[in-house]
Amino acid sequence: MAGATSHFSRMDMRDRRRSLLPLLKKTHETDGFLSRESIGRLARKLRMSENEIYGVATFFPQFRFTPPGKYHIQVCLGNACHLGGAPNFMEGMKIERGLEDGRTSPDGVLSLQGVGCLGCCAMAPVVVVNGGIHGRMNRVTFMKLVDSLAPREEES
């Protein structure tokens, strides 16, 4: 870590600022979310204020600030998927599993996130679970998929 810090202190202001977004992305990939500690670490590394980093990070919907569940479910809400009924999936999660957008279930098994177009419109509506794509879903097949990941009995 000391090596990395000295590397960053040698960088000029432009390079440090330019590396903010790639570093946020990398941290998000390894930790699964952006914690306060990791943001603080980045702030010291890049000599920027934590506030400024939060300002940039919260601008992007792809960054989460709470840890994801064991199964991270992303529902594409792009136009093609919307017309195919994707908002219904979000509602299904809310009514049937009590899970809202951006939340993680109390047992840490499921987390839900509505995302912008994933570019798989030819297979709309699309749901992504831990990076694996499931295409041509409807509310019934979606809820079945969720049940297969986390059986309802365990919930209660």
Partner: protein, 627 residues
């Protein structure tokens, strides 16, 4: 109406220099599509299975199993092509590998059951070039997509790659490059359609040595995925175009700004960069000339506004992606205050062909109407038989794109509206479908070229709901810098909600229209300026549908939740209890084998019963939606 000068699949004919690589008795190649869409259907497993089967049959010397980027026809994926026969297999599964491999051994016959079948005429088409989806296209930007291995620079070079860059740095001055692009009449393919040469010329004239060039691949418009496909399938074209741009304006540093979610595209572009450096197409002294050029990949945030050029610059500088007022334009004062050119990857991918083949050749493609020369790529989605990406000359009628390439609207429903230009593009009604697709004609009709996404909607679509959806997207993507966009779009959304729930009156329609015009005219950047277009065109062409919502309080397409009810038709219901099981609120009751009851007071209109009845139930379609 320009007749496309399409002969038989010109994509494969161009460029001519590739012929020398066609040595006598070309090796048979099995090419598996490994783009994001096909990979999601496990196409890498197909390739592994094919490799295994081919070596099992002892054909390893005569047959090469390889992969390509996107063919554009994602609807029928995963795609496997067999060259040089030009056979295309669709919806292939790993266990089809055995049959495909066997078909290539001595005396084998192609696998008929995997051929493409026209969704409407049911005609079986074995060969790539005979499929209407490809036949009607003219591929310049996507000329190599699906034909080369994106991770092998030799494949690109074989098809004439880096010929243009060599020509430019060895025998042309930067002025001549700009002039060639000017005579070709190339306009920006990112949406605004600004003359490319003009931007380049302004930047070239700026004093000082520090300039930047950026390829914009921050494609975040829903329903558009051509930039990703291009970068995944043919990253070298973008790199070559960027190097040509750098040479023309005198920049030494280029960036490819790629959306963070497009990890495969970024990975392939990285591999391509390494190879290009290795072959001296990039770096110090490009191809032995005095031109130095470096390229770096920047993975930016996947927000819609980041594609706006000044917002993109903010993001490269490590700030929130917020646009800045223009002027000064980036060509004068861009990244770190230095002259910068930002071009869409499709614009850049057109440049190598222009330099290699000449401006006159490029200008002869397309209708030429108002400087609409060349081709552009459309992403065809929605209620269309053949969804995918298609490249056609500018000026091609919209109907050709939808009915010939797209194969028309599937099912029994009719075409209701077409939205061009992505989420902030306008809706065109069915009777406007002969409109030529070029910058000026679309603008005249009230729509835009935009992100070149084409969304086809059938009679089941409610335009109030559609306009609301698109506006909701743009509203949530608004960066919040200027009041018109931040507050205006929210109020517009509120009015559309009110209309959709049947609580609005006719004065609200007038209010909505007035507000839309204000947002359009007073927003800072392209996002706010185009956000009201869907609403304005929906009101212009589909006003009667809005009237039905506010006056009759009904939704003709039976979509808007507050205006519809679900009913069970007792005669059709067999009492299979499928709907009883899926209903989240226990609104449906009834014993097995007897028509069920739906308690309207408990129904939350989630559509679960409708979907399960339509697809899984014994009798089917016993549940209807009425307005």
């Amino acid at each position: 109406m320009s007749a496309p000068r399409t002969k038989r699949n010109p994509a494969r004919k161009r460029p001519p220099s590739s012929s020398k690589a066609q040595a006598p008795g070309p090796k048979t190649r099995i090419l598996v599509c490994e783009s994001t869409a096909c990979l999601s259907s496990k196409s890498h497993e197909i390739r592994e299975a094919l490799e295994k089967e081919v070596s099992k049959l002892g054909l390893k010397d005569g047959i090469e199993v390889g992969f390509t980027g996107c063919h554009g026809f994602c609807q029928i994926g995963p795609i496997v092509a067999v060259e040089p026969d030009g056979i295309l297999y669709c919806r292939v599964k790993p266990n089809d590998a055995k049959e495909i491999a066997a078909s290539l051994s001595a005396g084998g016959r192609p696998v008929d059951r995997l051929f493409y079948r026209h969704p409407v005429t049911k005609e079986v088409v074995p060969r790539y070039e005979d499929i209407v989806f490809y036949k009607k296209q003219r591929r310049i930007i996507l000329r190599n997509c699906g034909l080369i291995n994106p991770e092998k620079i030799a494949d690109y070079e074989e098809r004439g790659g880096y010929r243009a860059l060599r020509k430019a740095v060895t025998s042309m001055t930067p002025d001549q490059v700009v002039d060639e692009v000017k005579r070709a009449g190339l306009r920006g393919r990112g949406g605004a359609g600004f003359p490319t040469w003009s931007k380049w010329d302004i930047c070239r004239r700026q004093p000082g040595g520090e300039k930047y060039v950026i390829a914009n691949a921050n494609e975040s418009a829903p329903g558009a995925f051509m930039d990703r496909s291009l970068l995944e399938a043919d990253p070298h074209t973008v790199i070559e175009g960027l190097a040509l741009l750098g040479y023309a304006v005198g920049a030494r540093q280029g960036y490819i700004y790629c959306r963070a979610e497009y990890s495969l595209a970024a990975r392939r572009a990285r591999v391509a960069l390494e190879q290009a450096y290795g072959k001296k197409y990039l770096g110090r002294g490009v191809l032995g000339s005095g031109f130095d050029f470096d390229v770096e990949i920047f993975e930016g945030g996947g927000t819609f506004v980041s594609g706006e050029e000044t917002a993109l610059l903010s993001s490269l500088e490590g700030s929130r992606n917020m646009p800045r007022p223009r002027p000064p334009y980036p060509a004068v004062k861009g990244l770190w205050g230095k002259p910068t050119i930002i071009d869409n990857v499709k614009t850049l991918a057109s440049v190598p062909s222009i330099i290699a083949e000449g401006a006159e050749w490029y200008a002869s493609v397309g209708s030429g109407n108002g400087g609409s020369t060349g081709t552009t790529v459309f992403a065809l989605t929605g209620k269309v038989a053949n969804a995918g990406i298609a490249e056609v000359p500018l000026g091609t009628p919209l109907s050709t794109l939808i009915y010939e390439i797209g194969g028309g609207v599937p099912g029994k429903k009719g075409l209701k509206a077409v939205q061009t230009g992505g989420p902030s593009g306008g809706f065109l009604p069915g009777n406007k479908i002969e409109i030529p697709l070029d910058f000026d004609s679309l603008q005249e009709a009230g729509s835009i070229m935009g992100s070149s996404g084409i969304m086809v909607m059938d009679d089941d679509t409610c335009l109030v709901d559609a306009a609301r959806t698109f506006l909701a997207f743009v509203q949530s993507e608004s960066c919040g810098k200027c009041v018109a966009c931040r507050v205006g779009t929210r109020h517009m959304l509120g009015l559309l909600d009110k209309i959709g729930s049947g609580k609005a009156d006719e004065a609200d329609l007038v209010r909505l229209e007035k507000l839309a015009v204000i947002v359009r005219d007073s927003s800072l950047c392209g996002l706010g300026k185009t956000a009201p277009i869907p609403v304005l065109t929906a009101l212009k062409y589909f006003r009667s549908e809005f009237i039905a919502h506010v006056v009759d309080k009904r939704c003709p397409a039976a979509v808007c939740r507050d205006l519809i009810t679900f009913r069970i038709i007792p005669d059709r219901c067999t009492g299979c209890q499928m709907c009883v099981k899926v209903c989240p609120t226990e609104a449906i009751t009834g014993p097995r084998s007897q028509p069920h009851n739906l308690d309207q007071s408990k129904c939350v209109k989630c559509r679960s019963c409708y979907e399960v009845c339509k697809f899984d139930a014994v009798a089917g379609e016993a549940i209807i939606i009425v307005s």
